[in-house]
């Protein structure tokens, strides 16, 4: 591959839009071409800056008033559509919409945050199940170093994350660490074996409302999920241990993770 061709493909490479063969050719070229590596880095920085500028620009953000009313209006609209279908059934639905409008106005924003966190927790549990347990992801996991270069520099700090110590049921050992994608969400993923169970630490970008201390989240099925925030990231500890042991594991690792992400 020549530099000219590589430069035409660099943005598609950053966006993960190239075929595997083309990606391999491009990576081979990059290994031997400092000029193209510099160009790639420039484009990566620009793309990341564009994302962060867009995500943090206050004038572009929705107002709390809009968010507060949104869920209520949507539910009311959904209910009013039903009204047209069945007057009798709609009477109850309309009453529910009124109740929802009153209650929703107060709680809509909180519900929105909770639902975002619940969605992320479900993704984390799905990733644990499909990546750590079944090895069944549609997209191949990539090394943390590569993910740090291409998506999130903070992922680099997990290449040296040690296993937590001081756990009540023995020693935790690290089995695997990489970056993977589940349902469109990219995670830094560290897999541990502890007390005969597989435990996943999954870290992703996010600012949903949860504190810096681990908190157990409602989970579907047999998996337990504990979550905490660290800088601009959210961490999820997922396992089929008991809720108490999952919580303890999260408590043991929170300091290690937070120190690494404090500035991220």
């Amino acid at each position: 591959m020549q530099c000219r061709e590589v430069r035409e493909l660099l943005d598609a490479f950053l966006g993960d839009q190239l075929l595997v063969e083309t990606t391999n050719d491009l990576v081979r070229h990059l290994e031997g071409c400092p000029a193209c590596r510099t160009e790639l880095e420039g484009r990566r920085v620009l793309r990341a800056r564009l994302q962060s500028a867009f995500a943090s620009a206050v004038p572009l953000a929705p107002t709390p008033q809009f968010l507060n009313g949104l869920e209520t209006r949507l539910r009311a609209h959904q209910t009013s559509r039903m009204t047209r279908r069945s007057w009798l059934r709609s009477w109850g639905a309309a009453a529910a919409a009124i109740v929802s409008a009153i209650a929703g106005g107060l709680f809509a924003r909180g519900a929105l945050h909770r639902s975002r966190l619940a969605t992320l927790a479900r993704s984390a549990a799905g990733d644990h199940q499909n990546c750590a347990i079944k090895f069944n992801l549609s997209e191949r996991p990539i090394p943390l170093e590569e993910a740090a270069r291409r998506y999130d520099p903070a992922f680099a700090s997990f290449t040296t994350l040690p296993a937590p110590t001081g756990l009540p049921n023995g020693v935790a050992e690290i089995l695997e660490r990489h970056s993977c994608v589940y349902e469109g969400r990219r995670f830094a993923h560290v897999v541990f074996r502890y007390s005969g169970h597989i435990v996943s630490l999954l870290v992703t970008e996010g600012s949903e409302s949860i504190g810096p201390s681990p908190e157990l989240l409602p989970a579907d099925g047999a998996l337990q999920v504990a979550s905490f925030s660290a800088g601009r990231h959210l961490a999820f500890v997922v396992s089929d241990l008991s809720s108490q042991d999952t919580s303890r594991f999260a408590q043991a690792i929170v300091g290690l993770v937070s120190r690494r992400l404090a500035n991220g």
Binding site: G42, R49, L50, A61, F66, Q78, L112, S115, R116, G184
Partner: protein
């Protein structure tokens, strides 16, 4: 699917994308009331046709696609067609001979300011690709343009963005020197 289960699925899949969707609408419309209307209408339509959404696929791209179609219809109704890019592309083809490197020190304001300086059609594809993280195919479908046009607009748009950033960086340095 019952009304309640539809809502629960919609709440889990679609509502987490409201913030990004709104920011895109706000950027494109440049008017808060218009952006709020557009997002509200997008989500209302998405909820109505949620049975067409395939769980596990890219919900943000699906919502963005609805938003773009609504916006395009509105513009057509108001006779506000996007600027014809053919002539612009040709003009830049003639004038754009050197693409400067990405400046080392970029602020958020520099980047957003430079993005505003390039034609809207290019802003749109860059935002859909780099910020909304949509694939070329998804962008082509959302904007109702051929895949090749998506790629050429992205290529040209990114070059224009770098030229604009170069100008911004130069003027920032000059301002600093003057101070």
């Amino acid at each position: 699917m019952s009304e309640e289960s539809t809502w629960k699925a919609f709440e889990a899949e679609a509502l987490p994308h409201v913030d990004r969707l709104f920011r895109l609408a706000m950027w494109l419309e440049r008017d808060r009331a218009a952006a709020e209307d557009l997002v509200q209408e997008t989500l209302t339509q998405a909820l109505q046709s949620f049975h067409r959404y395939t769980p596990g696929t890219n919900c943000r791209a699906w919502l963005t696609s609805i938003l773009q179609h609504l916006r395009s219809n509105r513009r057509r109704a108001q006779n506000r067609e996007p600027i014809e890019t053919g002539a612009i592309e040709e003009r830049f083809e003639q004038t754009l001979t050197f693409v400067p490197p990405v400046p080392e020190h970029l602020t958020d304001e520099d980047v957003l300011g430079a993005l505003r300086q390039i034609p809207e059609t290019y802003q749109e594809v860059i935002l859909l690709c780099d910020v909304q993280e949509m694939t070329y195919k998804e962008i082509a479908s959302a904007l109702n343009i051929p895949l090749g046009t998506v790629m050429s607009r992205l290529h040209r748009g990114r070059e224009l963005l770098r030229v604009a950033l170069g100008r911004t960086a130069t003027s920032t340095v000059k301002t600093r020197e003057m101070l």
